[in-house]
């Protein structure tokens, strides 16, 4: 930015001095960063874990402990310790007796403004969605963000029907959002007036995601049940 500055006395500084300065500053900065990183990391990890825990707890009411699974290549689930980002993960939640209360699944899709990321809990026992939480959304505050805040809308997800067909390969009815006040069937989501687009987007995300995951989880119900809990 300042090429135009007149060269002044220290312009004659030797390359050695420049190198010294850069290396010196570099080392100092590196030290500082590493220190800060090491110092804060445990706390940050804990914060993140808590946040995830909190979210999973929101979608699987009654959960005490959880265990992370990843979808293997042969459509079966294997327990993991939950580090790798690339894997498709689900979280099984258990009550204090170690009984499976639900499986939390992450899903995403396009909302009104940008990508919506949500987490929902599925109970293989009752074949219902038992909880819903918005992880990330840029929907309009006061309008589209009612999908996270509106209790009426949230209540759609305590017992949304996702039961399977006889042969257990597909959903009987995909969840779908309908106009506010027009909900008639247990698999329908009652929309929000003034935020039709966001609530429809949630419906779409839920529909697509459950269509994929619910038959899989249901099939592997046993895997989740027999698993010993984490921690």
């Amino acid at each position: 930015m300042n090429e135009t500055n007149p060269v002044n006395k220290d312009a004659t500084a030797s390359s050695l001095k420049m190198l010294q300065a850069m290396v010196g500053i570099g080392i100092f900065c590196a030290l500082m960063i590493v220190l800060a990183f090491e110092g804060t990391m445990p706390r940050i990890e804990q914060n993140k874990a808590e946040a995830l825990e909190k979210a999973i707890f929101k979608v699987i009411p009654g959960m005490e402990t959880k265990k992370t699974f990843k979808l293997g290549p042969d459509n079966s689930f294997v327990p993991v310790d939950g580090k790798s980002k690339a894997d498709q993960l689900v979280y099984a939640g258990y009550d204090q007796n170690g009984k499976l209360v639900g499986v939390a699944v992450e899903a995403s899709g396009l909302g009104f403004a940008d990508v919506l990321r949500v987490l929902y809990g599925y109970d293989p026992e009752t074949q219902k969605i038992i909880g819903f939480y918005v992880l990330e959304s840029k929907e309009t505050p006061g309008l589209g963000d009612k999908i996270e805040k509106d209790p009426g809308f949230q209540s759609n997800f305590s017992g949304l029907d996702v039961s399977l067909t006889e042969d257990q390969s597909a959903l009987k009815n995909q969840p779908v959002t309908v106009k506010h006040g027009a909900k008639e069937n247990p698999w329908e989501i009652d929309g929000i007036t003034g935020a039709t687009i966001s609530s429809r987007a949630v419906g779409n995300i839920m529909g697509t995601s459950t269509e994929f995951w619910v038959p899989l989880i249901h099939k592997n119900k046993e895997t989740f049940m027999v698993s010993k809990t984490e921690q």
């Binding site: 930015m1 300042n2 135009t4 500055n5 007149p6 060269v7 002044n8 220290d10 312009a11 500084a13 001095k17 420049m18 300065a21 850069m22 010196g24 500053i25 570099g26 900065c29 590196a30 500082m32 960063i33 800060a36 990183f37 110092g39 804060t40 990391m41 706390r43 940050i44 914060n47 993140k48 808590e50 946040a51 309009t140 505050p141 006061g142 309008l143």
Partner: protein
């Protein structure tokens, strides 16, 4: 670039230099980075949708500004001219990284709502600008006062925006309801357009005041 004169003054002054209140005061008002210099606009607008975000962002920036100003000024005789910008960026980036981690350690939620804008403090022209225009030529004490003044001035500017936007756009201030419960929020204010409008209107107010004073 006017630097030359400043440089000389700074050099002379630095002999008998002591931190002065003016170094501090000027950033708050006369040379306010937001309203007068109109610098660092991106973070100003992006995180000013609520007062708390604005405040947090302001403090984070102030911290980085303060630290980098001090470090730069204490190393000012050690850094050769040719590599000064590179070193400043390095220094600023390090402090920003540190700040980023500290905020994450304090609250993940706050970090989430400030988003990538914490990292973007690196390119905030105010910081590099102060390092270049002030800290590199003045004592640690004066640079501290300058950094503090500019930082708080920046925070004040952000807060002015954030408070208006939150108040009108959400009916709250620092998250606490301010209006009766059936107040109709002006949602546009928390949308990006509202950021542009609010800053423009603050600038209008300043312009009008200036014009009035010029006439009087």
């Amino acid at each position: 670039m006017g630097n030359q004169t400043k440089d000389n003054k700074g050099f002379l002054a630095s002999l008998k230099d002591s931190p002065s209140t003016d170094d501090f005061i000027k950033g708050l008002w006369r040379e306010n980075p937001v309203f007068v210099q109109v610098l660092g606009m991106c973070p100003t607008l992006a995180v000013s949708n609520t007062a708390i975000n604005a405040f947090a962002m302001g403090l984070a920036t102030t911290f980085v500004l303060l630290m980098s100003n001090m470090l730069v000024s204490s190393l000012r005789n050690f850094i050769p001219k040719q590599v000064r910008i590179a070193s400043y960026i390095l220094i600023i980036a390090s402090f920003v990284t540190v700040t980023d981690y500290v905020i994450q350690a304090i609250s993940i939620d706050l970090h989430k709502s400030l988003g990538a804008f914490i990292s973007l403090i690196v390119v905030n022209c105010v910081i590099l600008g102060r390092a270049e225009a002030f800290a590199s030529k003045n004592t640690v004490g004066r640079s501290f006062m300058d950094g503090l003044g500019m930082g708080l001035g920046f925070t004040f500017g952000l807060f002015c925006l954030g408070a208006v936007r939150e108040l009108l756009g959400n009916g709250t201030i620092f998250g606490f309801p301010f209006f009766p419960s059936n107040f109709q929020e002006w949602i546009v204010m928390i949308l990006p357009a509202g950021g542009f409008f609010t800053l423009a209107i603050w600038l209008l107010v300043f312009n009008a005041l200036k014009e009035k004073r010029a006439k009087a």
